[in-house]
């Protein structure tokens, strides 16, 4: 316990979740869950469908109220922070929603500039240039900037949403199933993109995913959710060595073997 505490201090987790309980009516979705996300890592978050992966993400961001527990992001207790401090925290993270959640009545350029315009007092010229830089970073052509979200393909929506999540150069990004609905090549590119961005921008990435390829190629560490708790957390090798029945199915199933080979 002592050693664990000391290590916590050294590692300085960017997200520290302690004894989180989330309940909808009488169904308990998360039950005393503990999780640490370390600075600079890409954490892959897996678990069966309906286990509450998105709920945990939304609880950390503050969209779902929790019954009990404590969440610290950047070392600040979210319950204790309010007003300006809370907004300051929100500026330091970016969120990529599962469906992109782009503002449908704004163009791609306006979507990416929206948080910049609200939070920073910078010139239109700089905003336009930064938008172009972000678009290039997520691998989109400059022409895309003037299109509306309804004129984009699924993969492009994810990329634009990522560009918007990165607009303010956050230290932490939450990605909710970033590669779902993408073709394998597109998904591979996206994993590569997340890796590159993590290297160039020094991001910490919290990624909810079902994509085994992403887990193998992009993630530094994997956390597994089951029965409202984290049932395992560690490297991909730890996961493969685990004797937990669900993990064995997940990492030794037909698909997993195909990915590994």
């Amino acid at each position: 316990m002592m050693a664990q505490e000391i290590q916590d201090k050294i590692q300085d987790p960017i997200i520290r979740v302690r004894d989180i309980t989330v309940q909808f009516g009488s169904t308990r979705v998360l039950d005393g869950l503990n999780l640490d996300v370390k600075r600079g890592e890409i954490l892959g978050f897996v678990g069966p469908s309906g286990a509450g992966k998105s709920v945990l993400t939304r609880t950390i961001i503050g969209l779902v109220p929790k019954v009990a527990g404590r969440i610290e992001v950047f070392g600040v207790d979210l319950d204790a922070s309010g007003g300006a401090q809370r907004r300051g925290l929100e500026r330091r993270w970016g969120v990529l929603f599962q469906q992109g959640a782009l503002f449908s009545s704004l163009t791609v350029r306006q979507n990416i500039q929206f948080p910049v315009r609200e939070y920073l007092n910078v010139s239109q010229r700089l905003m336009d240039e930064i938008t172009m830089a972000k678009l290039a970073m997520v691998g989109l052509k400059p022409e895309v900037a003037e299109r509306f979200p309804s004129e984009l393909s699924g993969g492009m929506i994810k990329r634009v949403a990522l560009a918007r999540a990165l607009a303010l150069d956050p230290e932490l990004v939450f990605l909710d199933e970033p590669t779902s609905g993408l073709d394998p090549i597109g998904a591979g590119d996206f994993d590569e993109l997340v890796r590159t961005l993590q290297r160039t921008l020094g991001l910490t990435v919290f990624m909810v995913t079902h994509d085994l390829d992403s887990l193998y190629t992009a993630c530094d560490r994997i956390a597994v959710l089951g029965n409202g708790k984290i049932i395992a957390a560690g490297s991909i090798a730890d996961m493969q060595a685990s004797q937990h029945p669900w993990l064995r199915l997940y990492f030794h199933g037909k698909r997993a073997r195909a990915v590994m080979s």
Partner: protein, 377 residues
């Protein structure tokens, strides 16, 4: 470790060296932009230019881009500005930014007279499109009703009953309340002005004719256009946005038959019922005011009413209701199915559904007035 960003000039002569220090991040973007703009003027005709970034404690895309912008603007002719002292963990970010092409942003055109004229022209030309779309929808609805008549089993009873509940049953309280109040107001105003020449009792004639022929059905139709027409447009519009209508089509269902027909039918059944209830509530309200405010007791009111109105007045009013319902329904469904991908488009079409619905209701009312006048009812 972190400090305000600075950009200092550290050498003179033929070599220009700029030294960037502190935190070059988004939070300092406005200050950084000013410093970079000042530094851009220093280029002159110097041959070698260095930007030393070894003292930068923190760098993000904003900072990296501004350094890159400075480098580009200092690079003129044969002179090339160089970035020196870049730490390893930021070099990939600077490389990434270097690949960005500074494309001029397309300016949206300013407001010009020709532009405004063009808009007006497009608006007028769009009117024919509106009428065509309405006629098209009317045809599609009639064709779908024909198919349902041939194959009654394809009729969606549950859906129709559901919509009937939404547009008729649930609308009853508000319709009763509003028409009751309007009846009260008409009677009060009538008595107030008629009393001056001793014609109090004629308020009953005015109330009866006005409510049964015009106000009852018109008011109810306008309320239904606002209440149910907008709901239809929003429902169909959001289904269109989420490709639900395309899904129906691919499963071999006709969206007109599945979505539009039950809604239309519910509306056509609901409006006469609501118009009747509304007329009764208005008469009741008017009678109440005539009694309490004008001193016309209920017995006298009813006697006078019996003399003043005939069944014709009632029929003239109620016959208009289904036609108005059809107009509201068609406008609402056309607008709903015209919604494009964005939330803004949904809002625009819902607005124009209500505006057009009310406009056409009043136009229809005028057409009916001319028609009934010429056949002498």
């Amino acid at each position: 470790m972190s400090g305000d960003p600075r950009l200092e000039r550290i050498a003179k002569g033929n070599v220009l060296a700029l030294c960037a220090t502190g935190t070059w991040t988004a939070s300092f973007a406005p200050a950084l932009e000013r410093m970079v703009a000042d530094a851009e003027k220093l280029a002159g005709s110097r041959q070698s230019i260095f930007i030393d970034v070894s003292e930068v404690s923190k760098l993000d895309t904003f900072g990296a881009w501004l350094i890159e912008r400075l480098r580009r603007s200092l690079t003129q002719g044969s002179a090339e500005a160089q970035i020196a002292g870049l730490s390893a963990n930021y070099s990939s970010l600077v490389d990434e930014v270097r690949r960005v092409k500074a494309t001029p942003v397309v300016e949206t055109g300013a407001v010009t007279i020709t532009g405004m004229l063009e808009q007006i022209g497009r608006g007028v030309a769009g009117l024919t499109g509106t009428v065509t779309a309405l006629v098209d929808m009317l045809g599609a609805v009639l064709a779908a009703s024909g198919r349902v008549l041939i194959r009654p089993r394809s009729f969606r009873l549950t859906s129709t009953v559901h919509h009937l509940e939404q547009v008729c049953w649930r609308a009853v309280p508000i319709i009763l309340l509003i028409t009751f109040l309007i009846g009260c107001i008409i009677a009060q105003q009538g008595i107030f002005h008629f009393r001056r020449f001793g014609a109090d009792i004629f308020v009953v004639d005015m109330l009866g004719v006005l409510v049964l022929r015009e106000i009852g059905v018109l008011l109810v139709a306008i309320m239904v256009a606002g209440r149910s027409g907008s709901a239809y447009t929003a429902e169909l519009g959001s289904m269109k946005m989420r490709e639900e209508i395309d899904a129906l089509r691919t499963m071999g269902f006709d969206p007109i038959e599945v979505l539009v027909l039950p809604r239309m039918l519910a509306l056509v059944l609901a409006l006469p019922i609501l118009a009747f209830l509304g007329a009764m509530a208005a008469l009741y309200g008017g009678g109440l005011v005539a009694w309490l405010y004008g001193g016309v007791d209920p017995e006298a009111f009813l006697l006078r009413l019996r003399d003043a109105i005939s069944i014709d007045h009632f029929i003239v009013g109620i016959v208009k209701a289904p036609v108005m319902a059809a107009v509201i329904g068609i406008v609402a469904c056309v607008e709903g199915l015209a919604v494009q991908g964005s939330a803004e488009s949904l809002g625009q079409h819902t607005t124009s559904s209500v505006v057009k619905g009310i406009f056409f209701v009043i136009v229809m009312d005028g057409v009916f007035a001319i028609f009934f006048a010429s056949i002498g009812i």
